[in-house]
């Protein structure tokens, strides 16, 4: 459909999109209500796999949220004008994705009605409690950051707001990775590498999501992204995806070096069934090698369609990676009696199988719906569309 025909129905198309996303969000809320009233017995989670599919969605969104703010940080902190034009949209996406991710996380609690308790009782030794504080602060800081960028009177402060947001989101992603890194009990976690790995994952996922949303907005408005900007972004995306691969290699190589981790690595890399498949095909092949190959291809690499495909594959690979990390890490039994074969009525020593159920999947989707709904309404109401020529000329004069 060409842009003139689309412009005629644009109003209705907006309502259709918002309606669809609202419906997805509502269905997610309904699924959460069903889970809360019947208890988690209606999910595939049990006493062995305690965090399931909703957590995979939630952690993806939270990690992507802090990563998508990277675009703004490259603009404000590192002073690249092209990225400065994109900073407000990046901030908005950060808030929207974090809101969606947190909604899923909070609704998956055993007692979501006790949210007030979670906000008023803090055990500061818990990295989870620190995360709650960091997430709340993130909303405030990014909101202020967006304000400094969009309000002409406040523009002078955007540098400071941007820097604070940058530091805050580094702390936030480090803390998110440390949720797992601080767990001494499980062989998949208890490693300091998880914190920086989550930071790099956030860079990769965040930029992929940003590229997709930005392209959608441009197509909706009949605008075309400057190929030079697209080239820059796709090279950056390839770099980030490669960096994630680097961290994955280091993580597994180190584990393989320890005799006590050998059986766990064998499980993930060789005979873990769905987890092995998701690791090699989902994370490595679809999520890393194919996108990098596409993005760095000399002829098709710079085309918009290629970049969009690569971004989508990176996102899918990200879900696979988190699924293997989160659920594979729980499926592998705890090593309570090292060197011994163990069995019990509580499934000690046995690989646990997890089959996600529909309510969990709908809840996760609902979170995505909420994030995209917030984005859709906000870009309709406020000026988030990156305008390169206008921004570049006028703002360059106003700032450094």
């Amino acid at each position: 459909m060409n842009i003139d025909a689309f412009r005629k129905i644009e109003g209705r198309a907006f309502y259709a999109l918002a309606g669809l996303l609202g419906l997805v969000a509502l269905i997610g809320l309904g699924a959460a209500h069903y889970m809360e009233t019947h208890g988690h017995v209606v999910t595939g989670m049990n006493n062995q796999i305690v965090w399931g599919l909703p957590h995979v969605f939630a952690i993806f969104m939270i990690v992507a949220a802090s990563g998508v703010l990277n675009i703004a940080s490259i603009g404000s902190v590192f002073g690249k004008p092209v990225y400065k034009a994109r900073a407000p949209l990046s901030g908005l996406l950060a808030i929207a994705l974090l809101a969606g991710g947190l909604t899923v996380l909070m609704l998956d609690l055993g007692r979501p009605d006790r949210l007030i308790v979670a906000m008023t009782h803090f055990n500061f030794k818990s990295i989870f409690a620190l995360n709650v504080i960091l997430y709340t602060g993130f909303f405030a800081i990014v909101a202020i950051y967006i304000w400094t960028m969009m309000d002409r009177k406040m523009y002078a402060y955007s540098k400071y707001a941007g820097f604070s947001a940058f530091i805050w989101r580094l702390a936030l992603t480090t803390a998110t990775g440390s949720i797992f890194g601080f767990l001494v009990a499980r062989q998949a976690y208890n490693s300091a590498i998880l914190a920086p790995m989550f930071i790099i994952m956030s860079f990769s996922f965040g930029l992929a999501v940003f590229i997709l949303v930005q392209s959608f907005m441009y197509a909706w408005n009949g605008m075309k992204l400057d190929p030079a900007i697209l080239r820059r972004m796709k090279n950056l995306l390839a770099t980030f995806a490669g960096a994630v691969l680097y961290f994955t290699i280091v993580y597994h190589l180190t584990n393989l070096y320890f005799a006590k981790q050998a059986s766990f690595e064998r499980f993930i890399l060789l005979d873990g069934g769905v987890f092995t498949n998701l690791f090699w095909v989902g994370h490595i092949l679809i999520g890393t090698l194919i996108p990098i190959g596409l993005l760095l291809h000399p002829t098709i690499g710079a085309k918009l369609k290629t970049v969009l495909l690569a971004s989508s594959l990176i996102i899918l690979g990200g879900f696979a990676q988190l699924y293997v990390l989160l659920i594979g890490g729980q499926a592998f039994p705890l090593d309570i009696f090292p060197g011994m074969q163990v069995s019990s009525s509580f499934f000690d020593g046995a690989i646990q199988h997890y089959s996600p159920t529909l309510p969990e999947f709908l809840l996760g989707l609902g979170g995505l719906g909420i994030a995209l709904l917030i984005t859709t309404i906000a870009v309709r109401v406020l000026n988030f569309l990156p305008r390169d020529d206008a921004h570049h000329s006028s703002k360059v004069a106003a700032t450094d």
């Binding site: 609690l109 055993g110 767990l183 705890l334 009696f337 163990v342 009525s345």
Partner: protein, 252 residues
């Protein structure tokens, strides 16, 4: 408890002393019939208004040599006391029998595994609201008034001691409140211990004559458990984690 609806309150004094005599007699008879009674460390019941103190550290010593492979007495007793049963993947199991086998030489053991009541519990460190806590006398508990059911403690426990309540519960034991959406684990039968009793598992094991589980105060040098732990070589499961647990094992 004196506030119970007690229809016998208006007894004549002579009835009181007769009942006392029957009481003493029954206690003596009970002593004679139950041989394992000496395994119960006389933990003089704490007065109700007295708080738990860190002068006491409750612990258990489990002799795996006396633990038979097919026996589930401790598990049944725990379920009966605390009001749960079943072994579906979503059912709570506060204590379970674990069969371990050394693949190199075929040596096998059976032992009960429950919350180890660590001195440095990882579950307490990670709980965002502070619902998972360690009482002064060493018992690790979940304050279900503020537990939000995030299950992070279940991820953190190296012994897989914690269970999550996946469905609505009815007819709970009034001494053991437990409900949907909260995490729970072995309480060392704190409702019994506070009144001078011992955990249901230890009691069941001794009453059945196996005497594999000994409960007592690790800080009291005169207690049976302290004497044994000083005299014999006992181990903590996953001692390498440095958690200094209160449950010690003998024979593994």
């Amino acid at each position: 408890m004196s506030h119970n609806v007690d229809k016998t309150n208006d007894d004549k004094p002579s009835d009181g002393s007769r009942r006392q005599f029957i009481g003493y007699g029954a206690a003596m008879a009970g002593l004679a019939i139950a041989p394992g009674v000496t395994l119960f460390d006389l933990a003089h019941g704490r007065a109700p208004e007295e708080a738990a103190s860190n002068k006491v550290r409750w612990g258990m010593l489990i002799d795996t040599g006396k633990c038979a492979s097919g026996c589930n007495d401790c598990v049944s007793a725990c379920g009966k006391e605390n009001g749960f049963s079943g072994s579906r993947e979503t059912d709570s199991q506060w204590i379970r029998k674990v069969e371990i086998k050394d693949l190199r030489n075929g040596q096998s053991h059976s032992l009960p595994m429950m919350c180890q009541h660590c001195e440095h519990p990882p579950c307490v460190d990670v709980c965002p609201t502070g619902a998972s806590f360690k009482r002064a006398d060493g018992i690790v508990l979940v304050d279900r008034h503020i537990c939000i059911g995030c299950r992070y403690c279940m991820m953190a426990c190296p012994y897989k001691a914690r269970s999550f309540v996946h469905e609505e519960l009815h007819d709970q034991n009034p001494d053991v409140p437990r409900g949907k959406g909260c995490v729970e684990s072995c309480t060392l039968c704190v409702h019994r211990v506070d009144k001078g009793g011992q955990p249901a598992c230890a009691e069941a094991c001794s009453e059945a004559g196996h005497n594999a589980i000994l409960f007592g105060d690790l800080n009291d040098q005169n207690s049976e458990i302290s004497k044994r732990v000083t005299k014999l070589a006992t181990t903590q499961v996953r001692a390498d984690l440095g958690l200094n647990v209160g449950i010690r094992y003998q024979g593994i």
